[in-house]
Amino acid sequence: MNPLKTLVFAARAIRANLTRACLTLLGVLIGVGSVILLLGVGSGATAAVAEQIQGLGSNTITVSSGGMSRGSTRFQNLTLDIAEALGDQDSAPDIAEVVPQVSTSATVVVGSLTTSATVIGTTANYFAVTSSDLAQGTAFQQVDVDAARSVCVLGADLAEDLFEGADPVGQTINVGGTPFVVYGVMKAKDTTGGTSNNSSLVAPLSRVQRSLTGYGNLSTLTLQATSTDTVDAAAAEAESVIATQLKVSTSELSVSVTTQEQLLSASTEVNSSLSAMLAAIAAISLVVGGIGVMNIMLVTVSERTREIGIRKALGAGQGVISAQFVTEATILSTAGGLLGVAGAFGASNFTILGTKPVITSGSVLLALGVSVAIGIVFGGYPAIRAAAMKPVDALRHE
């Protein structure tokens, strides 16, 4: 019997029970759709991180204090002295910029609105090094830092919270009891794969220390290497300079020196393992969909036992009968798979888990291949059962 005729018979049998067929392929549809979509979320997140690396330039290094060192009871704190030493061209020639930062949490009051925000005290080069461009107004300058002026720049979300669309530039806000004049507002940053300063308030380091934190230790230091090629050298120099300043060997150093690349690769790793887990959960639903196909095919075979008997009496061989049922199951699962792909493409226009999914051709091919395989595997058993029936028994069936 030619394959086309097998296909026609199978399509006809499906049409005879359309509602049931639709419900069956819904299972495969959901399975395939969610596998593709969640793999898409994973690659979307990875793509966003890659974009961030491009945007940031991968030449920044974050130095954060690590608390107590191994084998020592002394705290290894970051100080302004360390920051100055890192800026020394002789001992650290590959470090171009040093951005010392203190951060604290403070209550911000504007009129009747009160909110809590992270206050970052830093130097004027903060904006350039962290790629924090201004959306409105201007950044503060080194003179403002030197004079410890009470000025600040708001993160995009914080500005929206406090001013609700009104122009904040030139307004005075109360931060932890001290009035600050708003100089500017930063552009919103993509939050995927890392922290952002969207809800922070950035002010001169000297002013923040004087009014809010006191002249203690720094929270972090952001360094910029002279180029992307010198990042590793700059990180090594930073470790040795800091170790010298703290009077410990580099192996005893508990201060962490992390390049942007390391941060992002760590975040990519988290992303990909998360998306693999999500896809695995979705794959379970695909298996459930397959079992649904098998279930319905078993019902179909037992419902059509008599028809199988008639076809056998008319000379249909075992191969013809089993091919018919396998084809039927495969049509169901493949149709479900195709609709699942369409559904995934539709849903990929929305942001899911904070990410815009990027659907890759690989995941589409994989899911389609799996849905075809589901038809063959889960349709196979019912088909073999149908084909193995003795014609006389099948004909007797009512």
Binding site: R12, R306, A313, L314
Partner: protein, 268 residues
């Protein structure tokens, strides 16, 4: 066309079929079919031997439980005997595998069942085409043969109707058309008029008469005497054995065929 005297047929020597002339359509020897074991053992066939020559019209009669249905299943290659040999059209089918048997059912046997057994989702035309699809007949020829077979049973105008849209008599005539399309050696009818009223019964029996008149062997299983009266030879079964085998005159009444008898079956 005349039926061979059954005594002669029974007396045919054992072993290979006679060299002269065509082999018998059916030649069974000591068929046994036993269900269950021990006390609950049922001998549905208990040493049944039957020979049918080409062109014969044989009725197999018997009460329910006489083994005639089991006989029909084995003659139709729907079931296999536990012991004994069965030569269909000169070929021993009692040792064949499932695949070979489905080929034999397709090419050598045309079935007509009591409950018609048409496929409800297919039109009359498609039902008639089906055995040819399994035989691998090309589309064009398939259509010609299906159209011809439907015209023979007088149902050309019903070709597009589904079984549910036809009367019982019409459905059975579609089934008869279906049984003919692969030009089988044997038409095997199992209580073909059991579900039909007297008018439809007459129509269907008339078609069988025409098929047989065109030279095709017909074996009809029935428990109705007036149906068996259309056959040239009546075989009676009881308890799984053949208890009588008598020749009789042809059909008591021959009605005029709507189609010349020479075309019936002859061209298929």
């Amino acid at each position: 066309m005349t039926a061979s005297p059954p005594q002669e047929a029974q007396a045919a020597p054992a072993g290979p079929p006679p060299v002269i002339g065509p082999p018998p359509v059916i030649e069974t020897r000591d068929l046994y079919r036993i269900y269950g074991r021990g006390d609950s053992e049922v001998r549905a066939l208990d040493g049944a031997s039957l020979t049918v020559q080409p062109g014969e019209f044989v009725a197999i009669m018997g009460a329910s439980g006489s083994g005639k249905s089991t006989m029909m299943h084995i003659l139709g290659c729907l079931d296999t005997p536990d012991a004994g040999t069965y030569r269909l059209d000169g070929v021993d089918v009692s040792t064949m595998t499932g695949r070979e048997l489905s080929r034999v059912r397709n090419r050598k046997i045309g079935f007509v069942f009591q409950s018609f057994n048409l496929i409800p989702t297919m039109s009359a035309f498609e039902n008639v085409e089906l055995p040819m699809i399994y035989a691998g007949v090309a589309r064009r020829e398939r259509r010609q043969r299906a159209a011809l077979a439907l015209s023979m049973v007088g149902l050309t105008s019903r070709a597009k109707h589904r079984p549910g849209e036809m009367s019982g008599g019409q459905q059975q005539r579609v089934a008869v058309a279906r049984s003919l399309v692969n030009a089988p050696a044997l038409i095997l009818a199992d209580e073909p008029t059991g579900n039909l009223d007297s008018t439809a019964t007459a129509e269907v029996l008339d078609v069988f008469g025409q098929i047989n008149a065109a030279g095709r062997s017909v074996v009809l299983i029935t428990h109705e005497n007036d149906v068996a009266a259309h056959a040239h030879r009546v075989v009676r079964m009881r308890d799984g054995r053949i208890v009588s085998d008598t020749a009789q005159d042809g059909p008591s009444t021959i009605e005029l065929a709507p189609v010349p008898a020479t075309t019936l079956g002859g061209e298929l």
